[in-house]
């Protein structure tokens, strides 16, 4: 591995106080630049973030994705809004490319894999076949989510409420209060930054060095700003974010993240 420089402490308290009424500045660096890539620290474990919105924990050979929300399109069609049915396909295509590239031993889908309980039954045959093929490529773990408490056994893989990997705990909904080593999803974090009179909102990884919240992976999944009060109990001292640009990741200090006004 080439030069790896650790980030020193970030402190910019007066600015954070002006921008963020609900949280304090980030106390410890969560993100480490590594060439073009960005590593994230969760407790004592380091993992790679990927621009598709996935996390790779090299120490365990584990690929983690969260909130796939498969069949969200068809759930809207059920209610009369015929939005394009290709979201499942688009999501699986990105996932397949990641599996191909990283060759993980374990794939963890961190809950809300399907948008609703009827999702698996509505899948197009071609998409179901592709999903089964992917599940067969690794030790596949479905973490139960609030949208999809049951995953049909026919899809393969094993279903768990949470998974422990060394000191890490992987679960769908983040616990309130301290939870060192937790990797969760559910909140669909996104962040907004501004410069030169413009602002950009993008999905992101949110982390404070202790724990991490994954971005939603699903093609149609929406997002919740990390400045929202829902994040406050999880990151009492605020979180830094890695924003997903076009095929590139941008780590940004917590103090520079702005609320959705």
């Amino acid at each position: 591995m080439l030069s790896r420089s650790r980030m020193p402490m970030l402190s910019d308290s007066h600015r954070a106080a002006r921008r963020a009424p609900v949280s304090e500045p980030t106390p410890a660096p969560a993100f480490i630049r590594n060439g073009d890539g960005v590593h994230v620290r969760v407790g004592a474990t380091e993992a790679e973030t990927h621009a598709e919105g996935a996390l790779f924990i090299a120490a365990h050979g584990a690929l983690v994705v969260s909130d796939l929300h498969l069949e969200k399109g068809s759930s809207f069609a059920l209610r009369g809004q015929l939005i394009p049915p290709y979201d499942t396909r688009a999501t699986l295509k990105r996932l397949a490319a990641l599996i191909e590239r990283l060759k993980p031993d374990i794939v963890v889908s961190l809950g809300d894999s399907f948008h609703d309980i009827g999702g698996p039954a509505r899948m197009a045959p071609m998409d179901r076949k592709e999903l089964k093929r992917l599940v067969g490529k690794a030790d596949w773990v479905w973490i139960e989510g609030n949208h999809d408490p049951e995953i049909p056994g026919a899809l393969g893989g094993r279903t768990m409420r949470e998974l422990r990997l060394g000191e890490l705990t992987l679960r769908h909904e983040p616990r309130e209060g301290a939870a060192r080593g937790e990797i969760a999803g559910h909140l669909h974090p996104c962040a907004r930054v501004s410069s030169r009179g413009r602002s950009v909102r993008a999905r992101c990884f949110a982390a404070d060095g202790e724990r991490l919240v994954m971005p939603a992976f699903g093609a149609y999944a929406g997002g919740l700003n990390v400045r929202d009060v829902a994040f406050a109990p999880i990151f009492p001292a605020g979180a830094a974010a890695v924003l997903m640009g076009r095929g590139k990741l941008y780590p940004v200090a917590g103090a520079r993240l702005i609320a959705d006004a």
Binding site: L82, I83, S195, A202
Partner: protein, 889 residues
């Protein structure tokens, strides 16, 4: 028009009424009455103030006078009046009541708009009035209501007011389609269009009357009705070629309905002045600040003045600046589309009562009821087109025999040229030619859904109706069938939504109808083509209560039901000032100040769909939302005149001295291009290298050009850094000299192929365009029964939908619709295409050692904005770099 032809007299009671008022029927009023008596439709073209509206209604009043005497007649709709302005329906109804009452006509005149209570609407359907005044959206809604035929079949007249403003829009597409359907139910109804002066009356007449196809398609049997009536190449999914135009049409001869064009007498010639400011005319910018004292003096000398500006931000600024110099405390008001409706009505009422000396306004007052007392129209900034200018000038002095007075106030040097060109054009009576509009496929989809909610239809019949309208005359059966499929199942190649159909076909009758009441209900809530940008209500609150409101919002979001929420609720709303585009608010941080509703306010927070602001009287310089230029592009016709004037030195003598000196200097340092040439200059400046060209084709087209040229230069290894476009010029710059670039190759038309395609894939503007199409076509709902979805959710998901659809089904009908819109709207690709064609082989390149005089204005725009996806990445990069800098510094 007095050509000596004897004109029929009006019935005695009408003649008496005119006489009692001391009036005589005008010739065009008589002509229209005669045309109607012969069962002919008519397009009446007359300047404002010519008694146009009364002319439109006279034939109906004459007919109704005969039947109104009979007590036992049944309730039937006789005349449908359609106005693009909701407020106008009420004003016109009031004005119409007067002759009806004074002549003792026993007729019912009612209005119907979005504000009409449901009970009244229901009653109107059961017991129609004789004359109904309404909006295009209500007509679409009536067409999509149950048993529409019964409501419309007795109709004898359809009057469309301000038809020139409706026809070239998406609302016009939908209205034309609805009229075709209503026309089939009420074949006896004649149509009357009321229009301001237009360059091409024949085109407007065929919009009004519909077009006759040479060979109507034979009825086709069979389920899907997929007929080979007109086989044509499927339209390209991407706009690699200029927008397809409908086949040329002859005018009146082809009309589906017998149609006459009647012209009212023209008024006295307008008196137009271009302000020659004593102050230095700025090189760039759009504020008009330098001339405000002179504008104020002009207002002081006039009785009542209308001050037109091109954007809302300019309106706020002009209003603010005028009050700054308003030493006499003249009553000067503000009127624009973002202000609260009640506020706008108040201004209109004060205006009608003669209580104001001036109103600063945007296009919201381009149309509307006449104010006789206005004697001066001031246009701040360049008018951008002759037709709009003529319309605006017509708002002054509605007495036809007196000339209208207008003052044009250029904001910068190029606008001096444009104002001068516009003045000459008005003097010649020249108008902008309108390019015939091709109907939007999103509108077609909405119409198909609407039709299925009303009277079930046969696909063949609906297609025949569609192609009888001018906007859809060139619609192929194949495209129509794709639109039908889009409505039914989304129209995806992956046929996974067949079981979620919105419309179904009866296997026995072949008739299509909405599937179930809920689908129909959903459609009716989303009718129309007005998809506004996402707006937030602006509410003025007191600084004292802001903290409490914030705490309440947090409690509410957490789902806590605490006392703080009820205390905050008890505070009440605070005054609603109006509404503001969400993207403008997004670019602000709490604490930023901006001009709104005539005062400086401080942005505090967004709560749900409201932007909360507090007063900021202490702030002297508000941070105005950056609004580069206007929303109207310079018209093609006016641009041509400006280019000609630039090259014609003789015409320079009419220009102010400072502008003349500027052009003379340009001739010495570089050249003045001929009117059909494109001048391209390259020069170094401060370690960078610049390329500036002067197409005069408007900011939108030139912005697209900049985007594409940047991509090309990138491929040539020139490492471009950025570009900026103004209304008149475009500049690209980078670290490498651009002297040796082959300009003919750089400006080649083939840039509209792959380069455009690749860029469109990421363009944020394209996503916004797509969103509008998806909402109009009903793929995404503006409103769902029961609740209004907040706009922010829609914005977010349409971007995702766009990405997915483009990747998996780039030929989809709605992407095609969005590309067609992009060709004219935000990206103005059609204009760019004609520019590239025009300058082929006529590019003049000058390599200079420094900035040329002509380049100064556009060079001053540099650094003001970032455009497109590259800009977005830059913002992310900045934020990320800052992290690095903070960390290492």
């Amino acid at each position: 028009m007095d050509d000596g032809r004897p004109i029929a007299k009006l019935p005695q009671r009408f003649e008496d009424w005119f006489a009692a008022r001391g009036w005589r029927p005008r010739p065009h009023q008589l002509e229209l009455a005669e045309a109607a008596a012969q069962g002919s439709s008519a397009l009446l073209i007359a300047p404002t103030g010519g008694g146009k509206t009364l002319a439109g209604f006279l034939p109906s009043l004459i007919e109704l006078a005969d039947v109104s005497a009979s007590r036992s007649r049944r309730h039937a709709l006789h005349t449908l009046y359609i106005s693009p302005l909701k407020a106008l329906t009420a004003d016109v109804a009031r004005n119409l009541e007067i002759p009806a009452r004074e002549m003792g006509l026993n007729i019912r005149i009612e209005t119907r708009t979005g504000d009409t209570p449901p009970a009244k609407r229901t009653r109107q359907r059961a017991f129609p009035p004789d004359i109904l005044l309404t909006t295009p959206e209500q007509v679409m809604l009536l067409m999509a209501s149950e048993h529409p035929r019964v409501f419309f079949e007795d109709l004898r007249a359809i009057i469309i007011d301000e038809i020139h403003a409706v026809a070239p829009t998406k609302r016009g597409d939908l209205l034309a389609l609805a009229l075709a359907r209503i026309g089939a139910w009420a074949p006896a109804a004649r149509r009357i269009g009321l229009s301001a002066t237009v360059a091409d009356p024949d085109a407007l007449a065929s919009w009004l009357g519909g077009v006759q196809k040479e060979a109507p398609p034979p009825p086709l049997r069979g389920r899907a009705g997929r007929g080979g009536v007109q086989k044509s190449a499927r339209r390209q999914p991407t706009t690699s070629a200029p927008h397809p135009l409908p086949p040329p049409r002859k005018g009146e001869g082809d009309a589906l309905i017998r149609m006459q064009i009647i012209r009212g007498a023209g008024g006295a010639a307008a008196h137009v002045e271009v302000l020659e400011s004593e102050a230095l005319v700025p090189w760039a910018g759009h504020t008009g600040r330098h001339a405000m004292r002179e504008v104020y003096e002009a207002i002081r000398r006039a009785k009542i003045a209308l001050v037109f500006v091109n954007t809302r931000a300019q309106a706020e600024l002009t209003f603010q600046e005028l009050w700054r110099v308003n030493d006499d405390g003249l009553p000067i008001a503000l009127h624009h589309g973002s202000l609260d409706v009640a506020q706008r009505r108040k201004v209109e009422t004060a205006m009608a009562a003669g209580a104001l000396r001036a109103v600063v306004c945007t296009s919201t007052l381009d149309l509307g009821i006449d104010w006789g007392e206005v004697d001066l129209v001031i246009q701040m900034g360049a008018p951008k087109g002759c037709s709009r200018l003529v319309q605006r000038i017509g708002r002054a002095n509605h007495r036809l025999d007196e000339p209208s007075n207008a003052l044009l106030v250029p904001n910068n040097r190029f606008e001096v040229l444009e104002c001068r060109a516009a003045k000459d054009a008005v003097a010649e009576g020249a108008l902008d030619g309108e390019v015939a509009r091709v109907g939007g496929l999103d509108c077609l989809a909405q119409h198909i859904m609407g039709a299925s909610c009303g009277e079930p239809f046969e696909a063949d019949a609906l297609y025949a109706e569609a192609i009888s309208t001018a906007p859809y005359a060139a619609l192929t059966r194949e495209t129509f069938d794709r639109a039908l499929a889009t409505v039914a199942t989304g129209g995806y190649a992956l046929r996974s939504y067949d079981r979620y159909r919105r419309i179904v076909q009866d296997p026995n009758t072949n008739l299509w109808r909405a599937r179930g009441k809920q689908a129909a209900q959903q459609h009716r809530m989303n009718v129309g083509a007005i998809v506004e940008a996402d707006y937030l209500d602006v509410r003025l609150v007191s600084p004292r209560t802001m903290g409490l409101r914030r705490a309440a919002a947090i409690a509410a979001r957490k789902g806590e039901n605490t006392a703080v929420i009820s205390r905050a609720n008890a505070l009440g709303g605070g005054r609603r000032l109006g509404k503001i585009e969400e993207w403008l608010i997004e670019s602000m941080s709490p604490g930023d100040t901006f001009l709104f509703a005539g005062e400086i306010v401080r942005f505090e927070a967004v709560m749900e769909t409201e932007a909360l602001v507090t007063r900021a009287p202490d702030a002297r310089e508000p941070k105005i939302p950056s609004y580069a230029g206007g929303k109207f592009p310079l018209s093609t016709y006016l641009a041509e005149r400006v280019r000609k004037m630039l090259h014609d030195r003789k015409s320079w003598k009419h220009l102010p001295e400072q502008v003349r000196e500027w052009l003379t200097l340009q001739a010495q340092r570089s050249i003045i291009p001929k009117h059909d040439e494109l001048l391209v200059e390259t020069f170094p400046r401060a370690n960078k290298f610049y390329l500036v060209c002067y197409p005069f084709e408007g900011r939108l087209a030139q912005q697209t050009l900049g985007m594409l040229l940047t991509r090309r230069l990138e491929r040539m290894g020139k490492k471009p850094l950025g570009f900026v476009a103004s209304e008149y010029a475009m500049s690209v710059w980078g670290f490498e000299p651009l002297t040796d670039v082959d300009m003919d190759k750089l400006f080649d038309e083939d840039m509209l192929g792959d380069d455009l395609d690749a860029w469109l894939a990421e363009a944020a503007l394209m996503k916004r365009t797509f969103r509008t199409c998806a909402i109009i076509a009903g793929m995404i709902e503006k409103r769902a029964p029961g609740s209004e979805k907040s706009g922010r959710q829609i914005t977010f998901s349409t971007d995702l939908i766009y990405d997915v659809l483009r990747q998996h089904e780039p030929d989809h009908l709605l992407l095609q619709a969005a590309f067609a819109d992009a060709g004219e709207g935000f990206l103005d690709i059609r204009r760019l295409a004609s520019l590239l064609k025009r300058v082929k082989g006529r590019i003049v390149h000058r390599d200079l050692d420094r900035t040329s005089p002509l380049a100064v204005p556009v060079m001053m725009e540099i650094g003001k904005e970032l455009v497109g996806a590259a800009g977005e990445e830059q913002v992310l990069k900045d934020a990320s770099e800052a992290l690095l800098a903070e960390a290492l510094g």
